[in-house]
């Protein structure tokens, strides 16, 4: 028996070899016999009526097979893209508007797909797409959030009076008002949470194929949740029976939320494949991705924190306008509401919280979940406010947090904003982060920087995250239109080797390794004998995919449960073979034994007996050794932690340099510390990207995307970053089987506030109390000139 590589070990990843040798299998790598190319004709206008689409000249061009537009889809009975999560506001259900796969009547953002060209080659399709003549009546677009709520703003949807998809609220308004009646202090902030483009390195792509002999469709898509695409597209858009639709998400090059939606292109190529009778391939280029991948964040917020004379938080009031874009994307409305408001308590004991969110339509790309999704926005509001309060009162920024933190002993802790935290140790994370970052030694470092003419600042952020999406019961009450459980099958082969079929999707997270470790721990089989299969609806039972830091928390739990079922059945087989009662069978490190004897059978022997049942009690035990389990969590999990950033600003160039970064995170039980650390690194840098570099900018007059390439949209590079120091400080989750909490998004949640608090700290002596993200040299210069930027006004 080889060594068990189980929970807590750090084996190198199983998935590495194919990627390192260039033998990954991404959608764009796939070729099907007879395959043709699809290219989309996209709107150059942010808001316009489509008067006509003339494809005549384009259709006559070489290689062109077909051109379809929104009216063709409508005539064929193709449905709109469904929303998977409806929300309810003060005045009832959100105003749900149709989201056609190709625009019908109007275009609502630059990049809105108007038509698709199918041609023999991609070059021919591109040429023909340029020749499709669309006659637009250009309308005034609504781009800025502040403009969107003004009376008389142009209507994105003619039948939605005003701009408002939903006017949402959470918390006790009266109690919060009372807290603000006569507090000793009120800290206030107006801020912008900048719009981001997720930009996984692999652009989206889709290939569809139709077999007229069987009526079967296959779609290969860069998706984080192929089963959900099959469900949504099959039922609502194309009317394809589930058993005749296979969706495959092979190797996927990063997701970060961007690939967890059902996109128009998936439906259009699938429908078109049957129409033209050839496999159809669409590969997004980066420029097209910028105007068609769902964007993230984009809030304008006004918030206030009431405190008593000791710096104790009394009440928090938050008013946010959140951009939904030109259509409702799959989970769009849920992000700035259910994933935002409930996180506003943070790790503090604030007794009264009230949050209002106006979710508005604008003529921009639809906005949906991007790594963190709602939770970084909440953390940013709260942690910036806490810093402002500390400065106002004259308290140390660590001390004000200490005074308000939920004590470890106080868990489970019910917040005033719906959620109940099961476990955590915010003070433990805070103190350890202060120690690692040498918080006490900062003044000396600041003085040293000052000697070389630099302005140094240090910033702290704590955070909590609701993840492990999601308990179906709670999610359903909040408007989720599906369950959010996960499934796993453990298929033991006659040799004792194992194939796991799981409904989550691995696109960088290392599931093939982490999940194998769980099976290894549970069943004691060699690590190399376990393969993890995912991403193919014809192979894997229904599952919900990967998002919301759920794969290990929900999928891993299903896998643990299925593994336990294998052991239970194995014990019955062993009992028969060893002529004992199954109650007397013990199982340890891959060996079934009769307790108190030397009689035993190995896991492989039991597996063989299960499949070669020559001497088998068939009347009481079925052959085979394969178990399936579904797991639906009882609550969200609540990872949390404390992050500390240290920056140096050169007053000559106004460039912010991040010089130190420390993170102490409570992600619950750690299965593979190497992979967890990698997830934290990546998450933190995405948050640093938001704070210092990334900004999705629209021209407010024309609605043109100004930051539409990697030359304009600044992705973090290796030389922008310091070496980070990461530690975990884990309290096990009280309700997940292994105590895991999830780690995919935590880095992105804690980091923007830590970095911006450091930036403001560096400029505090100039009277600066806030700088909006990203802290570009231009913004720093202006803050230094004016003491503080005109907030939320750009």
């Amino acid at each position: 028996m080889s060594e068990v590589i189980g929970i807590g070990a750090a084996p190198r990843r199983k998935e590495d070899l194919r990627f390192l040798t260039g033998r990954g299998n991404y959608v764009a790598d796939i070729k099907r016999p007879g395959m043709v190319a699809a290219v989309f004709v996209r709107s150059p206008h942010a808001h316009a009526r489509i008067k006509s689409v003339d494809a005549g000249a384009a259709l006559a061009m070489p290689g062109v097979m077909a051109i379809f537009n929104g009216e063709d889809l409508k005539a064929a009975g193709v449905g709109g893209l469904p929303c998977g999560w409806g929300i309810t506001g003060k005045d009832g259900a959100m105003k749900e508007q149709p989201h056609p796969a190709l625009a019908q009547g109007k275009v609502r953002y630059v990049g809105d797909a108007v038509a698709v060209v199918i041609a023999e080659t991609v070059e021919q399709a591109r040429d023909a797409a340029d020749a499709v003549a669309v006659d637009y009546e250009v309308l005034t677009p609504i781009i800025n959030l502040a403009d969107a709520i003004k009376p008389g703003a142009p209507l994105v949807f003619d039948d939605v009076p005003g701009y408002l998809c939903c006017d949402w609220e959470l918390g006790d308004k009266a109690a919060t008002e009372a807290a603000f009646a006569e507090p000793a202090h009120i800290a206030r902030i107006n801020l912008v949470n900048n719009r981001l483009v997720g930009n996984p390195m692999e652009p989206r792509a889709a290939i569809a194929e139709y077999n007229p002999a069987t009526g079967h469709y296959t779609l290969w898509s860069t998706s984080q949740f192929p089963h959900v695409v099959r469900l949504l597209m099959g039922i609502f858009v194309l009317g394809i029976p589930q058993q005749k639709l296979r969706v495959v998400a092979p190797d996927v090059g990063g997701g970060f939320g961007v690939k967890q939606f059902h996109y128009a292109e998936e439906a259009v190529v699938t429908w078109a494949a049957a129409k033209v009778g050839r496999p159809v391939k669409w590969v997004c280029d980066r420029a097209e991705g910028f105007v068609s991948d769902a964007h993230g964040r984009d809030h304008v917020t006004e918030a206030a924190l009431a405190l008593d004379e000791h710096g104790k938080f009394l009440g928090l009031r938050v008013e946010t306008i959140a951009n939904l874009g030109g259509y409702i994307s799959t989970f769009g409305p849920n992000i700035p509401t259910n994933l935002y408001g409930p996180l506003l308590a943070g790790v503090y004991t604030t007794p009264a919280i009230y949050c209002e969110v106006k979710v508005v339509f604008t003529n921009t790309v639809p906005v949906d979940a991007y790594r963190g999704a709602g939770r970084p926005e909440a953390t940013f509001v709260l942690e910036r406010l806490v810093d402002i309060a500390a400065t106002q009162i004259g308290l140390d920024k660590a001390e004000i947090r200490r005074r308000n933190m939920i004590a470890k002993e106080a868990y489970p802790y019910q917040t005033p904003v719906m959620v109940q935290y099961d476990s955590g140790d915010p003070k433990g994370c805070l103190e350890r982060s202060l120690e690692i970052a040498d918080w006490a030694g900062f003044p000396a470092r600041k003085a040293a920087s000052a000697k070389s003419g630099k302005l140094r600042g240090i910033g702290l952020s704590t955070y909590v995250e609701a993840c492990g999406l999601a308990p179906s019961r709670i999610a359903g009450r909040l408007g989720a239109r599906g369950g959010l459980y996960e499934s796993a099958t453990v298929r033991v082969h006659p040799t004792g080797q194992i194939t796991v079929l799981i409904g989550t999707h691995n696109h960088g997270q290392g599931h093939e390794t982490t999940f194998a470790q769980i099976v290894c721990e549970k069943l004691g089989v060699p690590f190399e004998n376990i393969d993890i299969v995912y991403g193919d609806t014809d192979k894997v039972q229904f599952g919900m995919g990967t998002y919301g830091s759920r794969s290990l928390v929900v999928g891993g739990a299903a896998l643990a449960k299925a593994s336990d079922k294998v052991v239970a059945k194995g014990k019955k087989i062993a009992a028969h073979l060893l002529e004992a009662s199954d109650q007397d069978i013990t199982f340890e490190t891959g060996v079934f034994s009769v307790a108190g004897t030397d009689r035993s059978k190995t896991f492989a022997e039991i597996a063989l007996a299960a499949y070669v049942p020559h001497d088998y009690p068939l009347e009481v035990l079925e052959p085979g050794l394969e178990e399936q389990a579904y797991y639906d969590p009882v609550n969200f999990t609540f990872p949390g932690g404390a992050h500390i950033a240290e920056v140096e600003i050169d007053p000559e160039t106004c460039i912010v340099k991040l010089v130190n970064y420390t993170a102490v995170d409570d992600v619950g039980t750690v299965i593979n510390p190497m992979i967890v650390e990698g997830q934290l690194h990546g998450g933190i840098v995405q948050g640093i990207g938001q704070a210092l570099f990334e900004n999705c900018v629209y021209d407010s007059g024309s609605g043109q995307l100004l930051s539409g390439s990697f030359m304009d949209y600044c992705m973090p590079r290796a030389d922008n970053l310091p070496k980070m120091t990461i530690e975990t400080h884990s309290t096990p989750c009280a309700h997940t089987p292994m105590g895991v909490k999830g780690c995919g998004e935590v880095g992105t949640i804690g980091s923007p506030a830590a970095v911006m608090n450091a930036v403001v700290d560096a400029l505090a002596h100039l009277g600066v109390s806030h700088v909006d993200m990203p802290a570009t040299a231009n913004r720093i210069w202006r803050a230094m000139q004016s003491g503080s930027l005109p907030q939320a006004a750009e």
């Binding site: 390192l20 033998r23 764009a28 692999e202 990063g254 420029a287 960088g508 990698g678 990546g682 990697f710």
Partner: protein, 160 residues
């Protein structure tokens, strides 16, 4: 236009359109899909291959430009089933990859870095990687991989 060049050690001769990019030639005509295309502005570096010893972005080079040259792609670094190149091994050992999409370009770029830097610092590696974007790793483990791989390459050279 007729071109001939050496690709991963083997002679190749073919007729290509004058506008064909090297990345498209490799991926679409020669089936070497390890070379990835992650942008359209020569920023991301997922398409880096070697022409001679030098790392180049194959999305920015016309196929005709490699006539007579020797081109190495990620597929040419090690034999299928054979030992990994020390740089590939370093990425594996240091968890220098997550989704794998930027990885071929990173590895090819890193090998050229090793060739040019006998005793690099962390800052050297970070500066060199400016032309390769990764969205998953935060670069920390890539930098560690590049330094470890560089050390391994030089140690092997000295051992010869």
């Amino acid at each position: 236009m007729n071109i001939s060049f050496t690709l991963n050690g083997k002679a190749v001769a073919l007729d290509v359109e004058p506008f064909l990019l090297l990345s498209d030639l490799l991926r679409e005509r020669l089936g070497l899909t390890g070379t990835h295309v992650g942008c359209d502005t020569s920023q991301c570096g997922a398409c880096v291959v070697h022409v001679g010893d030098e790392s180049v972005k194959s999305c920015t080079l016309l196929a005709v430009a490699v006539d007579g040259a020797s081109v190495t792609t990620i597929e040419g670094l090690s034999e299928p089933g054979g030992a990994l190149h020390p740089m590939q091994q370093a990425f594996h050992q240091n968890h220098g990859l997550q989704c794998g999409f930027c990885t071929p370009g990173m590895v090819m770029s890193a090998i050229d870095f090793a060739r040019r830097h006998p005793a690099p610092t962390e800052a050297d590696a970070r500066h060199w990687l400016e032309g390769n974007i990764c969205r998953c790793t935060g670069y920390q483990n890539i930098v560690a991989s590049v330094l470890a791989g560089t050390a391994a390459i030089h140690a092997a050279e000295q051992g010869r």
